[in-house]
Symmetry: C2
Subunit: 185 residues, 2 copies
């Protein structure tokens, strides 16, 4: 097999999610993921450190989108609107990966250790969004309040989206949840 | 030494926090904690499963206070006000333990694994508060939005309190943070 494999990363991800869903995350080996994707273990390890990282590699991209979204928002925008718009942008990315994102969530919901990892990643995102807001000149505690609240709203929107059998899109659900929070407060 | 030790639990907690602060959490053994408290290892293990649990045993009480506070709030109270009042109540408990809570936070902030445990505990609290709101008849997504947002606000208030060298009390800071969130949204 050649060193260059077209879309090896995506094929490995799809193979891993399919196997985790069929047999349970704990039972699946890297060798099986590589075989299902028609690739070698060596190729797997060029893309992912281990089988858990297949599930969390996307969080780096999510972080970039959020931090960039916050940094590039109009200077006049209110902090909470900056966060809401950045999260809707992140939602658009996930919407494009709707089926993979749902398959991933089923795997995570079935495993307490993966749930903890997810919670920790979200907390890290909140801390980074707060930092990006401070870089815009937003003072504390407003920066942390807007960031932590934003991630809290995103979590609720995401769960609603994952459980939704209809055609509502994640960026819309994010906006609706921010609007609902406004009526609650 | 007799089986009954006056306030063994509290003495073990104080000894553990003092040792963690002096020498670093990783370096301290259960034997050393027991010795500092003037108790046996056997007594330690009657109260705590391991040295990590000394830091997190309080989360059960926090959970009880929050869930009870939500359950017993006036029927007419709005969900976010129910959550804010319950969190102010939890803040009062922590305010009574101000020095211990701060010593504990220094230990946790110095150790990524303990930070993750803390984040996971807070996420669990949010889920339980959402459940208590649903038990009051609050629909989704309002229940989860109010609970997740409330815990997000509490986290910000708690950090501000821990870092505050003045005499502001945690329940007041919790209320101020909810008020500030209101102006942000």
């Amino acid at each position: 097999m050649g060193r260059w494999e077209p879309n090896a990363r995506g094929r490995l991800e799809e193979a891993a999610l399919a196997l985790y869903g069929e047999r349970g995350y704990e039972q699946v080996t890297v060798a099986e993921i590589a075989a299902r994707a028609g690739l070698t273990e060596r190729t797997f390890f060029r893309h992912y450190a281990d089988k858990r990282e297949v599930l969390f590699a996307g969080s780096g991209l999510l972080r970039e989108i959020l931090v960039k979204g916050v940094a590039e928002a109009p200077a006049s925008a209110a902090p909470i609107d900056v966060v809401a718009a950045a999260l809707a942008g992140a939602g658009a990315l996930l919407e494009e990966r709707r089926e993979l994102a749902r398959a991933r969530q089923v795997v995570i919901d079935a495993n307490p250790e993966l749930q903890e990892r997810e919670v920790v990643k979200l907390a890290t995102l909140a801390t980074e969004v707060a930092g990006a807001l401070r870089d815009r000149g937003v003072a504390e505690p407003a920066a942390s309040l807007a960031a932590q609240t934003g991630i809290a709203v995103f979590r609720v929107a995401f769960e609603s989206w994952v459980g939704d059998t209809g055609r509502r899109e994640l960026p819309d659900i994010v906006r609706e949840c921010f609007a609902e929070l406004g009526t609650l407060i």
